[in-house]
């Protein structure tokens, strides 16, 4: 059986950063990912990132992904691809991860494991919601920016968080028409500057609106939307039909926590972070000693914070192995300072509070 010091599940922004920090500290790090390419969702992010200039804000997401891959390669981090992880067990004082590779069951023993499994898009149920042409916004984003295929020509985007706003903009860039972006809440959830981009392109944004149904026999032909009152109830007579061949759903993300459940981590329920979240401390360590979590699995946020959490988990895991004892403390303080800065302002404050609540629950959790 293969053995490693630090095993990271997920080769997205959090996992890659965790591996880079762990390897820099001198640990033998291993990444395992179910996809055929590393990078997670970074390579479909073609917009310039927000955040601090010192940490690559203003740089397009895929360029950051390319740099992270080069760094992991230079540091000699091994990446196993096309390998879905299906099990996580305690074994011989350490932990064992089971995965599928080329149709066979395999396993790796690790002293420390970092879960950087990310999140999946939420579904939305409505009549016609199973028609071909209704899809996740992230699915459409992969199609246009990675595979370079337009999923449709006339699109309705549901949800005004940053995902909905950014993917709507990128669909416009790829040459589609985005007929409307609708949002059930009475206000836009994501950054105003992203909303402004699609408004300048002529796409209307309807707040206090939801999708009533998608119309069509074998595919979406049109969408019926309806205005909502203050208690989110449809306003009679406030319906309209918009021609569309595609409906993109950007209604939030749920952390992919299966492995953390399987390992027996204690969880807490924080709706602002996407639901059930494995409790972790300031080192990103869960309630299972030696098992860490970083990125969207600890609450869906931005790639910028996922990268910082990954760094934190990587350093902390290496430190726990007795490596980098001197520098670790300083680096961790720097990472926390950057993360706290990213979590200020009207958009960051709620996440800051939710994360603080998560850390608080770690203090109460039995170890």
């Amino acid at each position: 059986m293969k053995k490693t010091q630090i095993l990271i599940v997920g080769a997205g922004p959090a996992g890659l950063c965790a591996a880079i920090e762990a390897a820099r500290a001198g640990a033998k790090a291993f990444i395992i990912d179910e996809n055929s390419k590393p990078g997670g969702q970074l390579f479909k992010q073609i917009h310039k990132f927000f955040g601090s200039y010192e940490h690559r804000a203003g740089v397009r997401g895929y360029a950051i992904g390319t740099d992270l891959l080069r760094e992991t390669e230079e540091l000699g981090v091994e990446v196993i691809l096309n390998a879905p992880v299906y099990g996580l067990f305690r074994h011989d004082g350490g932990m064992m991860v089971s995965y599928m590779k080329d149709g066979r069951e395999k396993a790796i023993l690790a002293e420390k494991i970092i879960l950087a499994t990310g999140a999946a898009e939420n579904a939305l149920a409505f009549p016609g919601g199973t028609l071909p042409g209704v899809m996740g916004a992230g699915c459409a984003q992969t199609m246009i920016n990675v595979n370079r295929v337009l999923p449709g020509g006339k699109i309705i985007m549901i949800g005004s968080g940053n995902v909905g706003l950014i993917v709507a903009y990128q669909l416009l860039q790829a040459g589609a028409e985005v007929s409307a972006l609708i949002e059930a809440a009475p206000f836009i959830g994501g950054y105003g500057v992203h909303a402004s981009k699609i408004r300048r392109a002529g796409t209307p944004i309807f707040v206090s609106h939801t999708i009533e149904r998608a119309l069509g026999k074998t595919r979406v032909d049109a969408v019926e939307i309806v205005r909502l009152d203050e208690s989110f109830q449809p306003v009679p007579g406030a319906r309209r039909v918009i021609e569309a061949d595609t409906v993109c759903l950007a209604v939030g993300l749920s952390p992919l926590t299966e492995l953390a459940w399987m390992a027996g981590c204690d969880f807490t329920w924080i709706p602002q972070l996407g639901g059930h979240i494995p409790i972790h401390n300031e080192n990103m360590e869960t309630t299972i000693p030696g098992l860490y979590a970083a990125g969207d699995i600890t609450g869906s946020e931005e790639a910028s914070t996922a990268m910082e959490e990954g760094r934190l988990a990587g350093i902390a895991a290496a430190e726990a192995l007795g490596l980098t004892a001197e520098r670790a403390k300083d680096i961790k303080l720097e990472v926390w300072a950057r993360m706290n800065a990213l979590r200020t302002g009207p958009f960051g404050q709620k996440r800051f509070e939710a994360k603080a609540q998560l850390l608080e629950s770690a203090k109460g959790a039995a170890r």
Binding site: Y53, G58, I188, V193, R200, A201, P346
Partner: protein, 173 residues
């Protein structure tokens, strides 16, 4: 409801209170950046893009960028650096009757220099025809084209884009 949170467009009041927009007096003196950034989001590349030190975000990085109209030399370096595409360059007194407005544009097709184009406002709706004076696409701007249009002076604070065309034929297979 009015305001960027409800419409996706900064309202007149929000723009009036925005520290990234300089004085009427400064607009009359020559080209100047117009930073239409009215929400506190974690972002500061504009501050670092400005070699004149005219843009200050400071700490925490969620503070709104403050433009110093005296220091701003109207070079436009900050335009492509803004991930929000929220910075414009305005030369109000380009001629007696026209202004020059420069904005980032990330769509195809790009217009031709020297041609007349329909120009739109923050909601993309047509305001007036303008003339494309220049299109800048540098390595530094990382794919973001900067378009300079000459527009009737009365619209120097209204025109913020060219009206986007539909699906271009050259992208269909």
């Amino acid at each position: 409801m009015n305001g960027i949170r409800f419409t996706g467009i900064a309202s007149a009041e929000e723009l009036l209170a925005c520290p990234g927009i300089t004085s009427e007096e400064r607009f009359n003196k020559g080209p100047v950046a117009v930073i239409e950034c009215v929400q506190e989001i974690p972002c500061n590349p504009c501050e670092h893009a400005c070699s004149s030190g005219a843009i200050i975000v400071g700490q925490p990085i969620t503070r709104l960028p403050v433009l110093d109209g005296v220091k701003c030399i109207g070079c436009g370096e900050c335009l492509a650096a803004c991930p929000g595409l929220a910075i414009f360059l305005v030369h109000k007194n380009y001629t007696d009757t026209t202004s020059l407005v420069e904005f980032p544009y990330e769509y195809l097709p790009l217009p031709e220099e020297g041609t007349a184009v329909p120009c739109g406002g923050r909601d993309g709706a047509f305001i007036a025809d303008g003339k494309v004076v220049k299109i800048k696409k540098t390595k530094h701007s990382d794919g973001t084209a900067l378009i300079l249009v000459e527009v009737p002076k009365e619209f120097f604070m209204d025109i913020r884009t060219i009206c986007r065309k539909g699906v271009s034929d050259d992208r269909q297979s």
